[in-house]
């Protein structure tokens, strides 16, 4: 069965810290995505990656970076966490991005920045 695993369900960090959110998928998917989900705003795309070592900015990349050193792993990095980055973060993957395949999501990481 398809599995996208996010390393933490809940995370509390302090302003200014460097924060790493990890996502691993076991489906050999080439395409991986990071979203944040906020009430009333839905899912907003932060960054995505179409292949190892490739990354593309989404709609709200400011304050974030990503790393894709291996196909199965896509990391989201908050370089210097701020309180407005408190949110639910969702990772997703998809095999063929040119088809109508569904995105497979992890269960999310609820991040609080104090």
């Amino acid at each position: 069965d398809v599995k996208v695993t996010q390393s933490s369900r809940y995370l509390v960090k302090r302003t200014g810290e460097k924060v790493f959110l990890e996502c691993v998928q076991d489906m050999d998917h080439e395409n991986m995505f990071w979203y944040r989900q906020d009430p009333g705003l839905g899912l907003r795309l932060i960054y995505f990656s179409y292949d190892v070592k490739m990354k593309e900015k989404g709609d709200i990349p400011e304050g974030y970076s990503v790393s894709r050193e291996k196909k199965e792993r896509f990391s989201l990095i908050l370089e210097s966490a701020s309180t407005n980055q408190t949110s639910m973060y969702l990772c997703a993957s998809i095999g063929d991005r040119y088809s109508n395949q569904p995105q497979h999501f992890g269960d999310g990481t609820r991040l609080s920045i104090l």
Partner: protein
Amino acid sequence: TQLLEQSPQFLSIQEGENLTVYCNSSSVFSSLQWYRQEPGEGPVLLVTVVTGGEVKKLKRLTFQFGDARKDSSLHITAAQPGDTGLYLCAGPLNNNNDMRFGAGTRLTVKP
């Protein structure tokens, strides 16, 4: 401004009632997807609609894609408490299938 506008934002009904939620855009989409998200979990795909005017049924859920492929609706017949969740629509922004999501409709079905 959201690319995909969903309405209503919140909906609370009694078990057994019928309901319809909407997903609207000024843009034309090659397809639209509907997801359901339960608390503490990621969204899970319910259906993909591809053809203008298409109607798809999933048990008590009926999905329709507008003729002009700018909108979609989800109708639930005889809602059950198990239908409670956040319903999200999503569509590809371009030919690369980079999906954009609406803000969702949060449905609560009371027993």
